[in-house]
């Protein structure tokens, strides 16, 4: 068992290299990188400054171009510059942002608290709401409560969370003005009392949180319900009923733990959401988290940041997959990974 997880852990390395190499070569091969961007900037600057007739035109000289290329590491072939980049990453150095000239790691670190706040709140709320709701829906399958809540669940299931986010922000923030139009806190946040601060954060967070929740809510609830229903018709539940346990008690004592297995499998995958956030929702609500940072970095061709976010999110995703398996092993002691047939 331990051997299996060690092997899984080691398999992260080739997968990680594969992912980063793929994206690295995409940023390399396609035109329009940071150097081209700088050149156009220099040209524009040259035109603006042409009134002064100084510095002999706006285009960069070949020497300057070479220097720039060396600075960004564009002068070497693809694989060797990838090796250099990888070596830097191993020393926890993600390079400098081409846009801000700051270390990428610092920029990402600055955005962490925001994304973690949303991630953790969403995760806690999802499990807090979905597990009881799924249980109730399973226990009272076909009742009016089940049918009514199914309508809501189905809506969340069919609609992607960004559409729900857009609908929410345009109705409740744009039209009715009940909630702020986005951002994480108000401008005068520093002057507020602690209580008002908390209120301010949640006032801003209400709509994005609903949008985040809508994404995972339906899937988790349905998963919980279906798993419980499968277990309810199992033989051991018949035995429990035969010896006189009430439905509630037999669910609590017997079916609950078995039904949590599929929900536990999905837990690890939520880790990447925990920190990575969803760039769509962050863009819609203008939340200054990792997602929005990645989106802006792509638009600005700030490849060190793009690669830095990719490193963090893919590592989280890969670790999350293993965490899922560990969760399953904890919830279900029958499962033995790695031994014999799958």
């Amino acid at each position: 068992m331990l051997g299996y997880f060690v092997r899984r852990g080691l398999l992260i390395i080739p997968t990680f290299i594969g992912i980063t190499l793929l994206v690295f070569s995409i940023t390399r091969v396609v035109p329009g990188g940071p150097i081209e961007r700088m050149m156009t900037q220099a040209q524009l600057g040259g035109e603006a400054g042409s009134l002064h007739r100084s510095e002999g035109g706006g285009t960069l000289s070949d020497e300057q171009l070479e220097e720039l290329k060396r600075y960004y590491g564009f002068d070497k072939p693809l694989l060797s510059s990838y090796a250099i980049w990888l070596k830097q990453v191993l020393r926890f150095d993600l390079g400098l942002s081409t846009r801000y000239q700051d270390p990428v790691w610092d920029i990402i670190k600055e955005r962490f608290p925001v994304s973690v706040f949303y991630g953790v709140t969403t995760l806690v709320l999802t499990y807090l709401v979905c597990i009881p709701l799924g249980l109730l829906k399973g226990m009272f399958h076909g009742s009016r409560f089940d049918n009514l809540s199914s309508a809501v669940v189905f809506l969340g299931y069919a609609l992607p969370s960004y559409v729900i986010g857009i609908a929410l922000i345009s109705v409740f923030a744009g039209y009715y003005d009940w909630f702020p139009l986005g951002g994480f806190v108000s401008d005068n946040f520093e002057e507020l009392s602690p209580l008002a601060k908390a209120k301010d954060v949640f006032h801003h967070a209400a709509l994005p949180l609903i949008a985040y929740l809508a994404g995972s809510f339906a899937v988790t609830t349905l998963m919980m319900k279906n798993a419980l229903m499968d277990n309810l018709s199992a033989d051991y539940m018949r035995t429990a009923a035969a010896k006189g346990l009430s439905l509630g008690k037999s669910v609590r004592r017997h079916a609950l733990r078995n039904s949590l297995i599929p929900v536990a499998t999905s837990f690890g995958n939520n880790i990447s959401l925990l920190i990575g956030g969803s760039f769509l929702i962050e863009t819609i609500f203008n939340i200054d988290g990792i997602g929005l940072l990645g989106y802006e970095a792509i638009i600005e061709r700030d490849y060190p940041i793009v690669m830095g976010i990719l490193v963090i999110s893919s590592l989280l995703y890969l670790i999350g997959n293993i965490l899922s398996d560990i969760c399953v092993a904890i919830v279900d002691p029958r499962i033995r990974f790695g031994g014999g047939s799958r």
Binding site: V23, V30, P31, A158, Y162, Y175
Partner: protein, 349 residues
């Protein structure tokens, strides 16, 4: 065809028909999609039919008519909505039959004395209003639906074709081929795919087919994985061994025995692939990495809507349209899944 005539398939079809919600949704979806493929007859600035001095013209299809053909003193194409009003006023027996929505998806209709977006109104016949450059929202919704539907259907064909081919080979050949593609798929499915598409699309402005190829490039893995497992399962069954004992070749076993038995289950994934295709395209368009500018698309309308929140009809119409279509798709998906896997639950109390 043999694939549809066997009793199992017929039983599934019966079960599908029995779930009324899914069956009706499937028909509605089919009708809406078919209608959208005739969008030129529903929303167009060219009329369906013009009757001028006893002769009939069909400006929607065929050659473009100049104003001279209809007794106007202009060389270019007349504004048929004005022509309709003129003919009506003159009352000489000439008439123009416009489509239900008399605006094209790319036509800017600027109303004097007012800045777009214009609110929905029956008098201007912009039933859902106009967008920020005066284009009819309803017309763009219809054409956008066609684009999105076409896109996700073609994407689906691509993904499934690649997935079935590679997955089947992985499952049947096994060995090094299987191992190699397993690693590839593991890498591929861990790449944050929307993120990479954004990187690529930010650099080259993709057209319909380019975007489709990029999406297919990252989207084929799920089906491949499924087909691999299904092929493995089928290949170890007795009938395959029997076929091999009779001397059937590898290709015969794959095409005559394994594929017909494993492919039919793929249909349970189709509605979800369609829905994810539509949502992914809309998300890309919303972020500005999708189809190039004048193409009517839902994502682009959503973007305009979030930038002009006081014009609630922009966001409203797209959200309602998306809810309708995606709910229909989800109902169909639910019904198909029930038809394939009828769950009978029992309770013990």
């Amino acid at each position: 065809m043999n694939l549809l005539r066997n009793p199992v398939a017929q039983k599934r079809w019966q079960r599908f028909k029995q779930s009324r919600r899914g069956y009706i949704s499937a028909w509605l979806l089919l009708v809406l999609t078919t209608l959208s493929f005739g969008a030129e007859l529903l929303a167009n600035h060219r009329p369906l039919l013009v009757s001028y001095q006893g002769e009939l013209y069909f400006p929607t299809f065929g050659a473009q008519h100049s104003g001279k053909d209809f007794g106007l003193d202009i060389d270019y194409e007349p504004n048929y909505r004005e022509l309709q009003a003129q003919f009506r006023d003159a009352d000489e027996g000439n008439w123009v039959l416009m489509p239900p929505i008399p605006y094209g998806p790319l036509e800017n209709d600027l109303i004097a004395g007012d800045f777009p977006p214009h609110a929905p109104s029956l008098t201007t016949r912009h039933y859902l209003g106009t967008d920020t450059s005066g284009r009819d929202v309803l017309a763009r919704l219809i054409y956008g639906f066609r684009t999105a539907m076409l896109f996700s259907l073609v994407l689906l064909v691509f993904n499934y074709a690649i997935g079935v081919a590679i997955g089947c080979m992985m499952g049947y050949l096994g060995g090094a081929f299987d191992l190699f593609f397993q690693r590839i798929i593991e890498i591929w499915s861990n790449v944050p795919f929307l993120y990479v598409i954004m990187i690529v699309a930010s650099i080259i402005t993709p057209g319909f087919w380019t975007l489709l190829f990029i999406m297919a490039f990252f989207g084929w893995t799920a089906m491949t994985w499924y087909m691999r497992t299904a092929t493995y399962k089928e290949a170890s069954r007795d009938y395959v061994m029997a076929a091999r004992a009779l001397g059937a070749s590898g290709s015969r076993i794959v095409f005559r025995h394994i594929l017909p038995n494993s492919v039919s289950t793929l249909i349970t994934f189709v509605p979800f692939s369609v829905a994810s295709g539509i949502t992914a395209l809309t998300a890309l368009d919303y972020l500005g990495f999708g189809l190039p500018a004048p193409t009517p698309s839902w994502g682009e309308l959503l973007k305009q809507g979030t930038e002009n929140m006081e014009s609630l009809w922009l966001v409203g119409s797209v959200v309602v349209a998306m809810t309708l279509i995606l709910m229909l798709v989800a109902y169909v998906g639910e019904a198909i899944r029930d038809a394939y896997d009828p769950r009978k639950f029992s309770f013990y109390e």
